[in-house]
Symmetry: C2
Subunit: 289 residues, 2 copies
Amino acid sequence: METLTVTVDKEFGSAMGALFHQIITDMKVGAPLWEDFLSKASKLHTALKSTLSVIAAYLDAFQKIADSATNAKGATKDIGTVLTRICLRHKAVEARLKTFTSALMECLVLPLHDKLEEWKKMVVNLDKEHSKEYKKVRADIKKRTAEAQRWQKKAKKIRSGMAGGNAGMMGQNPNGNASGGANDRQLNAANQELLRAADAAQIDLNSRLALLQETEKQALKSALVEERSRYCLFVACLKPVMSEEMSMMAELSHLEEIITQLDKHTADPFSLPSSTEQMISELKGTTDH
Amino acid sequence: METLTVTVDKEFGSAMGALFHQIITDMKVGAPLWEDFLSKASKLHTALKSTLSVIAAYLDAFQKIADSATNAKGATKDIGTVLTRICLRHKAVEARLKTFTSALMECLVLPLHDKLEEWKKMVVNLDKEHSKEYKKVRADIKKRTAEAQRWQKKAKKIRSGMAGGNAGMMGQNPNGNASGGANDRQLNAANQELLRAADAAQIDLNSRLALLQETEKQALKSALVEERSRYCLFVACLKPVMSEEMSMMAELSHLEEIITQLDKHTADPFSLPSSTEQMISELKGTTDH
């Protein structure tokens, strides 16, 4: 039974405890990554905001071209109409880009930024709590291990005393009744009490060790959940931002049909639409009689 | 027949000629619109270029978050894998935005910019050529009109002389043979020659007027085609730019499926994946016997 005590002390440190510490370290190392990400996202927000005003000016200039085609007295009304549709579609995309830009700040940067300090404290706390608890239980276990070892020594002496009378029994469980009536009579009542106490100490130690394992498992789970929940929060913050991207895409998808229409209108730039040819004939007609 | 000469002079100016001048004016007025558009498109190009470098930095920071989730010893590998997919998808979008930004400059701004001077010269030329031709033909017509009018006066005198002998014939076509043999004999050979010359002058004038109409029609058509071909060129330049937008959209469309996957993974941030629960049990198992 001594072997278990040693194993626990070593394997514990190298398995669950080691993983716990690894996760704590991962989270500590992760902090500057989050800060860097939020700083870059902030810069993206700023860049997009200034791009948005440039896009607005671009689309206004585009609309003026479309208007000039639509309002021209000549043969460009059909092209102007489609250019206006393209412009309106891009204004819808621009509006989505605006909400995307806001979402980047409101839904991603600000909420995560608020969490960073909390996260740092949380890791320190998890680590401290775990250390405190672990040290306390370890100290207790150490004390009880020493105690159990003292009892084991005494029990060993009794058993080696017994071994003088019955060499064949050496090393066998002293509680065993298989050794028969003659050996039983060799152990007086005090010795029997002592052996029972030694066993009780070992059982008590074992249950403490099991408790320590359970405590370590809970600490490990808390660390795992803490770490995972951070990425889950990140995803939750990212979702409204990506949802705006999806909407932007939906607005753009209408362009396809408009482009096809434009292709048809502008297939031959050097021939006039039939409506224009008709108009010219009518104009000529007014002076033809 | 005099009425036609007057009508042409007036209606010509108010119909085809007026439209020609309107289109020339539209094109002249349009020049600053194109300049403004190209300047705004240039600014958009610059803004997008600087946004692109910010996006690259943002995606790098994003990838580091994804990597930290993937490489963590804890329970975040599944989330990390999906975050990496999101990041890769956005890097594809970034690449498309890069070609979009290049296309804006290479396919739209530069080619149109090269055309602006040519366009200005073209309008001036069209206008000048039309004026020159119109003035020349008009001067010719004026001369021939005066000539025809002189012949008409002489013809009128002859006819009024004839009217003394036959009042009922006044105003009738002098070529008409219905007036009978007695009146024919009143016109001597010289008078008949004069009337024939007067008619020839009018016919010649009419064919010159028809030619002027045809010339005006051709000038109008040239102006219409010139105007329309500008918008067609604009569309042709716009198409590769919009095509990049479409590709960007196609890259984004893959996001939808990834988001669904991410939703599944992060539905409950406080429960660990079953693989992690399994790993914990195994870790605990190594010290449980």
